[in-house]
């Protein structure tokens, strides 16, 4: 390695490692990521628990507290049964509409419901409110109608129309996932139990984010470093000490050292969390497929070099950090689909979209590593993806070198799209 490259590497890596931003990102980002996932899991668990409780005990639900009394004129004789868990004074029956209206006008009740005698054929219910009458409807309640009353009324009608509790459960939730075994046409590799699947899903969601941020952070460090040297005019002094290409190589290597340090910290933290998670859940530890780390490192290096070379070219062309940032966000877009379709990587690993994303060079680093984290990937796909990525990386580095020239680096003119064409031709 040339001495100057080593000096640039040492200088640029130290410069990043000395910034508080780097350490904040290194430690805060994983905490945020894990926190967000944990929060989402807790919310999911609570929702499924509530849904399960409702489904399993459909007749024993509790009425909301502090519910005002509802007047009822039941000309259809629908409401015959009453859950034990409901307060007895929740519904105040009236013999006819006139009596209910009188009670409403006397402020004894806030509203009343009239179930007409032809409800079973017409399906209409009239709701009257103290303040105004909204509408009559066959299915829904008025906007001003207390949604808790709607829930009570719906529940009462349901349980009185359907005598069998199991029927009601099935009517409300015809395909209850908790009782249905899914049999996919293209099933994912079998895991030992439900907890393994949960961990796999977490890994499939987290891996694209980690790769996205690793590539984004690493390459944006590089772009910012190039732009900063342009802005503070240091590049003019540097170009008298070493050729632009050596400067480019030194910078890319420097940020790769930074990325490796960041990855090492995240991997150590990730391993710790997975281990602790396994202990807390009392399940076997989540293990990656053999060779996963080797493949992951290869994809990370190639992916980083690809995006870093792009960002170096962006830095050389951009006139300011702001201008570089705007261009950067456009160029980083190919990494987003992997995050958007993260669920698919766990549920449908052989879907055409999953396959396309893992073979397309710009999305391959995060997509393929996500698949690798979840299970075995056919060797031919792995090799094809990595070969395509390596070829594209080589192409991009060659192109970046065309833009990383003295005239671009010393230019203070704002970037114009035609500059790309000029740089390409040069």
């Amino acid at each position: 390695m040339r001495r100057t490259i080593w000096l640039v590497l040492k200088h640029d890596a130290t410069a990043v490692l000395r910034t508080p931003t780097f350490w904040i990102m290194t430690f805060l980002f994983p905490i945020l990521l894990v926190g967000m996932n944990a929060y989402a899991s807790i919310i999911d668990n609570r929702s499924s628990q509530a849904a399960q409780e409702t489904s399993e005990d459909a007749f024993a639900v509790k009425a909301p507290e502090d519910l005002p009394g509802i007047g009822l004129v039941d000309d259809a004789d629908i409401i015959q049964r009453w859950p034990d868990t409901f307060p007895s004074d929740l519904l105040i029956r009236y013999d006819d509409v006139a009596a209910a209206r009188a009670a409403l006008e006397a402020d004894e009740i806030e509203q009343y419901v009239h179930i007409p005698a032809d409800y079973m054929t017409a399906g209409d219910i009239a709701i009257y409110d103290k303040n105004f009458m909204i509408r009559e409807s066959g299915t829904g309640m008025g906007l001003a109608f207390d949604s808790r009353n709607e829930w009570v009324l719906q529940h009462l009608i349901d349980m009185n129309l359907v005598e069998n509790e199991q029927f009601l459960i099935l009517l409300r939730n015809p395909v209850p996932t908790t009782y249905v075994d899914w049999h996919q046409l293209n099933p994912p590799p079998e895991t030992n139990d439900v907890n393994d699947r949960v961990l796999a899903e977490i890994v499939s969601k987290i891996t694209p984010y980690i790769f996205y941020f690793l590539l984004l952070i690493g390459s944006s460090y590089l772009m910012r470093s190039v732009v900063a040297e342009k802005e503070n005019r240091t590049v003019e002094v540097l170009l008298l000490s070493l050729p632009p290409r050596q400067l480019l190589v030194g910078k890319i290597l420097a940020i790769s050292v930074v990325v490796v340090i960041q990855v090492a910290i995240w991997l150590a933290g990730g391993a710790f969390i997975l281990k602790r998670g396994a202990v807390m859940l009392n399940v076997p530890e989540f293990t990656f497929e053999p060779g996963f780390l080797v493949w992951a490192v290869l994809y990370l290096i190639a992916g980083y070099l690809l995006y870093a070379s792009v960002m170096a070219a962006v830095g050389a062309m951009a006139n300011s950090a702001r201008e570089g940032g705007q261009m950067m966000w456009i160029l980083i877009l190919p990494l987003l689909p992997t995050m958007m379709f993260a669920d698919m990587f766990a549920s449908e690993p052989t879907h055409w979209l999953t396959l396309t994303l893992s073979l397309f060079p710009l999305s391959a680093p995060s997509a393929m590593v996500t698949r690798l984290a979840l299970g075995a990937v056919p060797l031919w796909q792995n090799l094809l993806s990595l070969a395509g990525l390596a070829a594209t990386t080589y192409l991009f580095i060659s192109l970046a070198a065309r833009f990383f020239r003295s005239d671009n680096l010393l230019s203070s003119a704002a970037f114009k799209p035609k500059d790309l064409l000029t740089g390409w031709k040069s």
Binding site: E236, L240, D407
Partner: protein
């Protein structure tokens, strides 16, 4: 051997001609002034000379030939816009730049200590560059230029931001470098500094060399056929003098007849009884005047 030899240099950026035809040479042990109005092509010429830009036409020889990386490391460059990492500490920044020039890190630290002491920056070595005053940053930039002991020193507006004390210090440093045999190219708009330091200049205007040579000769060439005189006596009727005029500062300005040698006037005055001469010199214009005359003359021509 010339340290730098530039011949008919030309460079265009798209439709703009930055340098049209510039030629000059620089010798060891001289301070050479590269002068010109804003946008004349000075910085582009410097960048081409240092192989940062490739010229479209012309020849450049530095240290006797094309500039390779080994030769580049023998150059110290002080750009007009300061080229230091503002968010980094002074000492590591200067050591980094010196080591990139091939200097051993240990030697760089040792030399840096001496320079920091001399420029009164030792106690600021751990400060970030952006925390230093403008003058301190300029001194730091000068140290970065000289730390690796270059043979060719290129300085663009070296006195920018410096107070009179530090200006004197920096001038003294450049004089020492010249005495040590180093070649210095100085680009500045401060003409009195050029008069004080440079022995030769080139004046570039609209991308072309319009004035080139020894400062004294150029001044003499631009001098009118006149003398300045201070003293006492009868200066009204001197043979060969067209007009005698007393200026506000008490100096006599004498316009001579065409072809009259000023030395003949001096001999005539010296031979007169009752005449006291305290100052006798050719009435040369200042470099500032020459600069303005040439540049404004070029504007009128164009």
């Amino acid at each position: 051997m010339h340290i730098v030899e530039v011949s008919h240099l030309a460079k265009r950026f798209g439709e703009v001609t930055a340098v049209a035809d510039v030629s000059f040479t620089i010798e060891p042990g001289e301070i050479f002034g590269l002068l010109g109005p804003n946008g004349a092509g000075k910085t582009t010429t410097i960048r081409m000379m240092m192989d940062i830009f490739r010229p479209d036409a012309g020849e450049i020889a530095v240290f006797g030939g094309a500039l390779d990386m080994a030769k580049k490391r023998r150059i110290g460059y002080l750009p007009e816009e300061r080229g230091l990492y503002k968010d980094q500490k002074l000492e590591p920044t200067l050591v980094y730049l010196a080591t990139l020039k091939g200097l051993d890190e240990k030697v760089a630290r040792q030399r840096l200590g001496e320079w920091l002491e001399r420029f009164d920056l030792a106690e600021h070595r751990s400060k970030k560059v952006q925390e230093l005053s403008k003058g301190m940053q300029q001194k730091a930039q000068i140290i970065a230029t000289l730390l690796h002991d270059p043979d060719l020193i290129v300085i663009d507006e070296p006195f920018s931001g410096l107070d009179p004390v530090n200006t004197r210090l920096v001038k003294q440093v450049f004089e020492e470098q010249r005495e040590a045999g180093k070649a210095i190219i100085m680009s500045t708009h401060q003409m009195y500094q050029v008069e004080a330091l440079c022995n030769r200049i080139v004046l570039i205007d609209n991308g072309r060399s319009v004035l080139y040579g020894l400062v004294n000769e150029i001044k003499r060439d631009f001098a009118g056929n006149a003398i300045l005189l201070e003293g006492e006596g009868d200066f009204a009727t001197i043979p060969g003098v067209l007009e005698t005029r007393k200026q506000n500062n008490g100096t006599w300005h004498m316009a001579l007849e065409l072809g009259v040698d000023p030395q003949a006037i001096f001999r005539h005055l010296a031979a007169q009884n009752g005449t006291r001469i305290e100052r006798f010199e050719l009435a040369e214009p200042s470099l500032d005047d020459i600069f303005v005359n040439v540049v404004s003359g070029n504007k009128e021509d164009s």
